[in-house]
């Protein structure tokens, strides 16, 4: 009986990991408007980490880096050709205009910090 329960528990735990990290959504997206959007970089996460923007419209993001560890020092927008160094305790403004609708990942250089930029039509 115990054997059974422990195995079942383990499998459930694995299913939970798969669901939580891959299958479930990443929470509500933050819609970027005309004003700059502040993104706080601290404790291993971008907050907010999911951003929505309109294709063809300039998007201004202000990264406020609080985490002094070097992991946080750079933000890279893959496929958009943007990379920027972030200073601790200071805002770094990034302006970009995504042309194509789609999902773009932005991460630190080691990909521990992860965020998604969703570009809609």
């Amino acid at each position: 009986m115990t054997t059974w329960l422990i195995n079942l528990g383990g499998l459930l735990l694995m299913a939970l990991i798969v669901w939580w990290f891959w299958l479930s959504g990443r929470g509500p997206a933050k819609r970027a408007g005309d004003t700059p959007l502040d993104i706080v970089v601290d404790n291993g996460v971008y907050e907010p980490s999911v951003i929505q923007a309109r294709a063809g419209q300039p998007l201004t993001l202000r990264f406020l880096r609080r985490d002094p560890s070097p992991c946080a020092e750079q933000v890279i927008f893959h496929d958009l050709g943007v990379s920027e160094f972030l200073d601790t305790g200071k805002a770094t403004t990034i302006t970009l205009t995504p042309r194509q609708p789609g999902k773009y990942r932005f991460t630190c250089q080691m990909q521990m910090y992860q965020g998604t930029l969703i570009v809609n039509d």
Binding site: I17, D38, G44, L64, P68, F85, D87, A91, Q111
Partner: protein, 846 residues
């Protein structure tokens, strides 16, 4: 509708910002509220009165008053207590200082006006203006834009001076503070872990017996270890929790789960030993403490090593001058370089640095431009020449007028470009990227699977083995090594290239440059000096050399073409006066034509004149000119040939040696030119290229590159970046070659700041070394993880009885990322060129 800005306090996250916005929008008359977390202000539009807004802020808990009592608020929305942010300028307490460059201020009364305008801005404590260098220092927490607006409202201009060097120094201090903090955490972790481990190794029991004193002493140890986890390991736990909430998993997740599991299991052993079989009553407090200590140590070492990877950018930043000697109203004074404005007249004395980009107005000197172009020889400068910020004046004195200042100087643009390129990813790193993105959740799955396997298949005490295997898997897995493998090498490689005067704009180019097999060199300005000169004039019997040269010069008066300039220079040298022509036309790649006194003059290549029906002649003389490497230009009046002028462009001193280096790297070297075959071949012989594509029209260059690519070759094109832009874009890697800093940086994947072709070979050598370094790193990181994780899971146990200790896993994990960064740092020692060979070359040439 009006806009007002109110100070806030303690808002540290988006959650706070949301609360503030909600509170303010509830006030009647407020149409929008924008929170600035950095400046700790909120800007409210609408007709609400200030007192009502302040009340709303007070109610929400974020109102700023003079007593800085924001700790409670900050803690309320940010569970991380303040001390995790050592070095990070906390937004609530620190007063900043802005330096403004002021324009339009001419007298002492302006100073008073500007100072009082600045003092009137909210949250400004002090403002003082220096008329001599036209700067204003403002202390307080005001928004920079508000300061600029205030100065403009007073009738002057202002812009914020960003002091890059000061920012750099601040960054260094912050990094140092973070380093010291990591070392403190290491000491605490190891101070608890090492004695415990020594006790175990010395034969002390790590087992708990219920009801004895050992249970109580282990309970005390458990609490001390909890202290270590909560103090030295807190950033891992907070990071893990925050990431987990965002459906993310990172390195913190692994460390927190691993050390947390070891501690929790040990506490169960201590508190409820009866729950477990006797053989399983073993504590692992030493593992938790040791791992926390070791991983902090690894991060500290990694940070140290990382600092060196950005050395190249720091060195470029150091090139900038701190002050400049400006001549205003006939007086000379030293002012901070940030307050130099375009149009200012500046003096540079012997040994000083040029402060901003400009044009020489007076004086003669030589400038050492090696730090920008990689070329060791000083360049002479006379009035009319351009000078670049960061270059060093030799022995003369120059007065120059500032043309580009601040972020517009070539040096500033180069720094920006290098910083940007250092974040680029060559394709080789993509696989690692894809793996990194799913790495941590996969490791979590493997840890659970390993635990289950031990439970079902392993020997007793199974629960201990389950715990040890799962913990060790979590701790040994190192996403850092994988994630750092590519970026660290790219950072060093791009920086290394910048030091050699090579600007790499794209990650792809960094990788592709090493795989090239064919290189197409434009002739003019690339292999040759690009400054052609007339080498001979031959005429038909009835015309004199002077007439032919005069007519040719008259024809070319309006042209900017290098060949035209050579003819004009020759005419000027002989004191010939040109005449005015009409209806001038340039026929791309063929020649030029114009009308003079009712006749049609044409100057161009033989083929074109043939097409136009001009009579033949002077073939022998033309061929003789061509054999010496000169381009024969035929001059015709109507259908009659008058003469032929030879114009030659000497090859650069080091072109032959550089092309030999390209051969040594295994490349086929092709020269492409619009010149006639004979003269092209003469240059080709002198330069030592393998193949010549002569008489190619500019627009056909792209097609030639395509043709070579069609043969399955990887082709690089080297050209001047302006005329050759389409061909550079078509090539697998385009190299724009410049002389000095006046190059179109945007036009090619790689820009050579110096004019030497050695830059191409250097770029390829650096590319190969960088890609090799990346491969070593990737191989190391993959091998480490693919061997380490199964061993940690216990795959060797059935054969050898080995099960890795979590402490060893912690040490291995710390070392693996340090190794990657250290290996990337090895690239710094790479030398693209053998200096001893360089010396031989220059001796051979002199």
């Amino acid at each position: 509708m009006n806009e007002q800005t109110l100070p806030i306090q303690g808002a540290t996250c988006q959650g706070c910002a949301r609360k503030i916005r909600t509170a303010l929008l509830a006030v009647p008359g407020v149409s929008s509220a924008e929170v600035d977390l950095e400046q700790q202000t909120v800007t409210v539009s609408g007709s609400a009165d200030r007192a009502a807004l302040r009340d709303a802020l007070t109610e929400s808990g974020y109102a700023a008053d003079d007593t800085e009592d924001a700790e409670a608020d900050a803690a309320a929305c940010h569970p991380a207590p303040q001390e995790t942010r050592t070095g990070g300028a906390g937004p609530t307490q620190k007063e900043s200082e802005h330096l403004l460059a002021i324009t339009g201020a001419t007298c002492a009364s302006c100073v008073r006006t500007i100072e009082s305008a600045l003092s009137g801005v909210a949250r400004v404590h002090d403002a003082s203006m220096n008329l001599a260098d036209r700067t204003a220092r403002v202390a307080g927490n005001a928004r920079p834009q508000a300061l600029i607006d205030a100065v403009q409202a007073a009738g002057y201009g202002a812009s914020v001076i960003d002091d890059e060097q000061q920012a750099d120094q601040q960054r260094e201090e912050q990094e140092h503070a973070h380093y010291r903090e990591l070392i403190r955490h290491t000491v605490i972790g190891l101070a608890v872990g090492i004695p415990l481990m020594a006790w175990g190794l010395a034969g002390g029991t790590m087992m708990v017996t219920a009801g004895t004193a050992s249970q109580w002493s282990w309970l005390a140890m458990g609490l001390i270890t909890l202290g270590v986890l909560a103090w030295s390991g807190r950033h891992f736990f907070i990071g893990a929790w925050k990431a987990g909430r965002h459906h993310n998993a990172n390195m913190d997740t692994l460390i927190a789960l691993g050390t947390g599991a070891a501690w929790a299991y040990s506490m169960v052993v201590v508190l409820f030993p009866d729950w477990l079989p006797e053989a399983a009553r073993h504590v692992y407090f030493e593992a938790s403490a040791m791992i926390i200590g070791l991983i902090n140590l690894g991060q500290a070492l990694e940070m140290r090593a990382r600092g060196k990877t950005s050395e190249a950018v720091r060195r470029l930043l150091d090139l900038g001058a701190r002050t400049a000697r400006v001549i205003r109203d006939g007086e000379e004074r030293d002012i901070p370089v940030e307050s130099v404005q375009a149009g200012d007249l500046l003096r540079v004395r012997p040994g000083e640095k040029i402060a901003v980009d400009g044009e020489v107005e007076e004086g003669e000197s030589r400038l050492d431009e090696s730090m920008l172009t990689g070329e060791p020889m000083p360049v002479s400068k006379t009035p009319g020449d351009t000078v670049s910020a960061g270059t060093v004046n030799d022995s003369g004195t120059l007065i120059y007028r500032a043309t580009r200042v601040g972020r517009d100087t070539a040096l500033a643009q180069i720094i920006a470009l290098v910083k940007k390129a250092q974040g680029a990813k060559p394709p080789i790193g993509r696989l690692a990227d894809r793996i990194s993105a799913v790495f941590v959740p996969t490791i979590l799955l493997i840890a659970v699977a390993a635990a289950l396997a031990w439970y079902n298949l392993g020997p007793d005490p199974r629960i201990v083995h389950m715990m040890v295997a799962a913990t060790t898997v979590l701790i040994i897995a190192c996403p850092c090594a994988l994630g750092l493998a590519t970026p660290m090498s790219v950072m060093v490689g791009v920086g290394k290239a910048a030091e050699a005067g090579i600007l790499i704009r794209q990650g792809e180019a960094l990788q592709t440059a090493g795989d090239l097999d064919t290189i197409v060199l434009d002739k003019t300005g690339t292999i040759t000096e690009g400054h052609p000169a007339v080498t001979g004039v031959h005429t038909i019997d009835s015309e004199s050399e002077s007439t032919v040269l005069t007519l040719a010069a008259s024809l070319e008066t309006g042209s900017e073409h290098p060949l035209a300039r050579a003819i004009l220079a020759a005419a000027e040298e002989r004191g010939l006066r040109t005449e005015t022509v009409t209806d001038f036309q340039a026929h791309n790649g063929k020649g030029v034509s114009a009308r003079l006194d009712g006749t049609l003059l044409r100057l161009g290549n033989r083929r074109w004149l043939d097409q136009e029906g001009v009579a033949g002649g002077l073939e022998e003389q033309a061929e003789a000119l061509g054999r010496d490497g000169a381009t024969p230009l035929f001059l015709a009046r109507d259908q009659q040939l008058l003469g032929v002028i030879g114009v030659a462009d000497p090859i650069k001193q080091d072109s032959r040696a550089a092309i030999q280096r390209l051969h040594d790297l295994g490349l086929t070297v092709v020269m492409i030119t619009g010149d006639v075959r004979t003269s092209a071949e003469a240059i080709a012989r002198q330069a030592g290229v393998d193949k010549v594509l002569a008489e190619v029209l500019p627009e056909d260059k792209t097609r030639e590159i395509q043709r070579l690519q069609g043969e399955g070759r990887k082709v690089a094109m080297v050209g001047d970046g302006i005329n050759d832009a389409p061909a550079l874009a078509q090539a697998d890697v385009g190299f724009a070659i410049g002389t000095g800093t006046d190059v179109a940086i945007e036009s090619a994947a790689i820009t050579l700041m110096g004019g030497s072709l050695h830059g191409v070979a250097d770029a390829m050598a650096i590319s190969r070394a960088t890609v090799r370094n990346i491969k070593q790193n990737l191989f190391g990181a993959f091998a480490y993880n693919t061997l380490g994780v199964p061993v940690a899971a216990g795959i060797l146990y059935p054969f050898t009885g080995w099960l890795l200790s979590p402490v060893i896993a912690g040490a291995a994990m710390s070392l693996s990322s340090v190794t990657v960064v250290t290996n990337a740092n090895r690239l710094r020692l790479f030398r693209p060129r053998d200096p001893s060979r360089d010396n031989e070359e220059s001796r051979g040439e002199s």
